[in-house]
Amino acid sequence: MSRVKEDNDLVVPGDVLFNGSNLYANQGTYEANDKIYSESIGVVRYSGQGVEVVPMSGRYIPEEGDVVIGEVSRVSYSRWTIDLNSPYDGTLGISDATEEYVDLDEDDLTDFYDVGDTVVVKIDSVSESMDVDLSMKDRRCKKLSGGRVIEIAPAKVPRVIGKGGTMVQQVNDRTDCNIIVGQNGQVWIKGDHANLAVRAIKKIEREAHTQGLTDRMAEWLDDQLEKEGDR
């Protein structure tokens, strides 16, 4: 029973990570022939209990508890369908959308959220057949107005947010922007130096797997602001 790779090694599908079966095969891995293999291109992480591969890329697949940014794509009689930039849409029911009393015969659902609205929502549950139930009942959830939404790879979201939110906070501060990063890779940006914020986020995404990124980004942002003649 042994580790085959080093922590943080880059692996590809079919690579052997562990000889033996007494470790949990977590995300990005699978068990076969009494061994654990990688199923993604990614970085392998061992822990006492298990092994996982953090993938380099991949479309967003909804997960319970995630807070995401989506766009209302349809309004039906008693619910809204939200596009999450995923193969699976989310559904927001009335009781999960608002505390207010809604009379289905009298009130117009579009008064709350209309097609095209951008919203921050939380994923309440995901069924086996991929029915995604959403809720607004989290203080982070709301309708967004103004600003713009850009797309980054969901795999890069943790890096863009940074430990304890430090990376994105850095961008916020220097660009005087409001930035919300959805777990689904949708990022909402609003503020004066929005263009710079967009470029900063894209740069973090590109260099996500490098060392010393936080400091480098601070320097780069200061540089760019100087160029814009704004210090």
């Binding site: 989506g70 596009d83 713009r148 939404v149 967009v198």
Partner: protein
């Protein structure tokens, strides 16, 4: 989820762009002639920003058109490969693909860039046919300019193979260079919210109101034009566009010369 059309209009309305370029600024352009090594008689890969287009020149021998018995023919075809963007589907040529082919074609054939009489082998019987095939690999906007540049580069660096009565076409032997008598360079000016801008990305093109494609010869004469999309142009806007096109075609012509020599 794409960026909101409304947001694009607002940004362009403020005379800014999504990537901090000036309204008239082109993205980085790369032209690689002879990208296809063996199977085409000419080719070029053109990259503008993230847009990637490959143009191939294939030469064959066919009957001339009845009404032009002493002229060779040019056929332009464009394929928006499904890989070029998520929204594309496989299938018969769709509107954007057909228009792209026709606009590129207009910039070359209508502009009489190629001396078709030199492509005549036997009057009324056999002429060379030039096939220009535009293959879009990645669509990040401004396909017309990329495809036109690729077509011209392919013609400039391509060749016409030997043809023998008995043996047929011999693609290993060059009979002559492609008889280019003019080199019209094609650029497209676009309009969003009454602002005139150049080299739009695919996101920006979501908010496109109108476009005007202009082909200009070295001597500055305009040889072809095509307006597209729904909104109208004023005459002053057309004047402005053509003026700017003079400047832009000059820039592209320089890049083309560098790449093809």
């Amino acid at each position: 989820m794409k960026i909101n059309e409304e947001t694009i209009r607002k940004i362009i309305g403020d005379e800014e762009r999504l990537d901090d370029r000036e309204l008239e600024e082109y993205r980085d352009i790369e032209i690689e002639p002879n990208w296809v090594r063996e199977t085409a008689e000419g080719s070029a890969k053109v990259t503008i920003g993230n847009t990637q287009v490959l143009v191939g020149l294939s030469v064959d021998v066919e009957d001339p058109y009845d009404d032009r018995p002493d002229e060779g023919t040019i056929v332009t075809n464009a394929e928006l490969a499904p890989m070029a963007a998520r929204e594309y589907e496989s299938g018969p040529p769709q509107e954007p693909g057909v228009e792209l082919a026709r606009v590129v074609d207009r910039g070359i054939r209508e502009a009489e860039a190629v001396d078709l009489e030199k492509l005549c082998i036997e009057e009324g019987e056999k002429v060379y046919t030039l096939f220009l095939d535009v293959h879009v690999l990645n669509d990040d906007g401004n396909l017309i300019d990329a495809a036109s540049l690729g077509a011209l580069a392919a013609l400039k660096t391509g060749f016409i193979p030997e043809y023998d009565e008995e043996e047929g076409l011999n693609r290993d032997e060059k009979a002559m260079d492609v008889p280019l008598q003019y080199e019209p360079v094609t650029v497209t000016g676009r309009k969003i919210e009454d602002k005139l801008l150049w080299d739009t990305s695919r996101e920006e093109e979501e908010a496109l109101d109108a476009r005007l494609t202009v082909s200009i010869k070295k001597d500055g004469n305009v040889v072809s034009m095509q307006k597209g999309e729904r909104q109208p142009y004023s005459q002053e806007e057309i004047r402005e566009t053509i003026s700017k096109a003079q400047e832009k075609t000059g820039e592209l012509r320089e890049l083309l010369e560098e790449a093809c020599n």
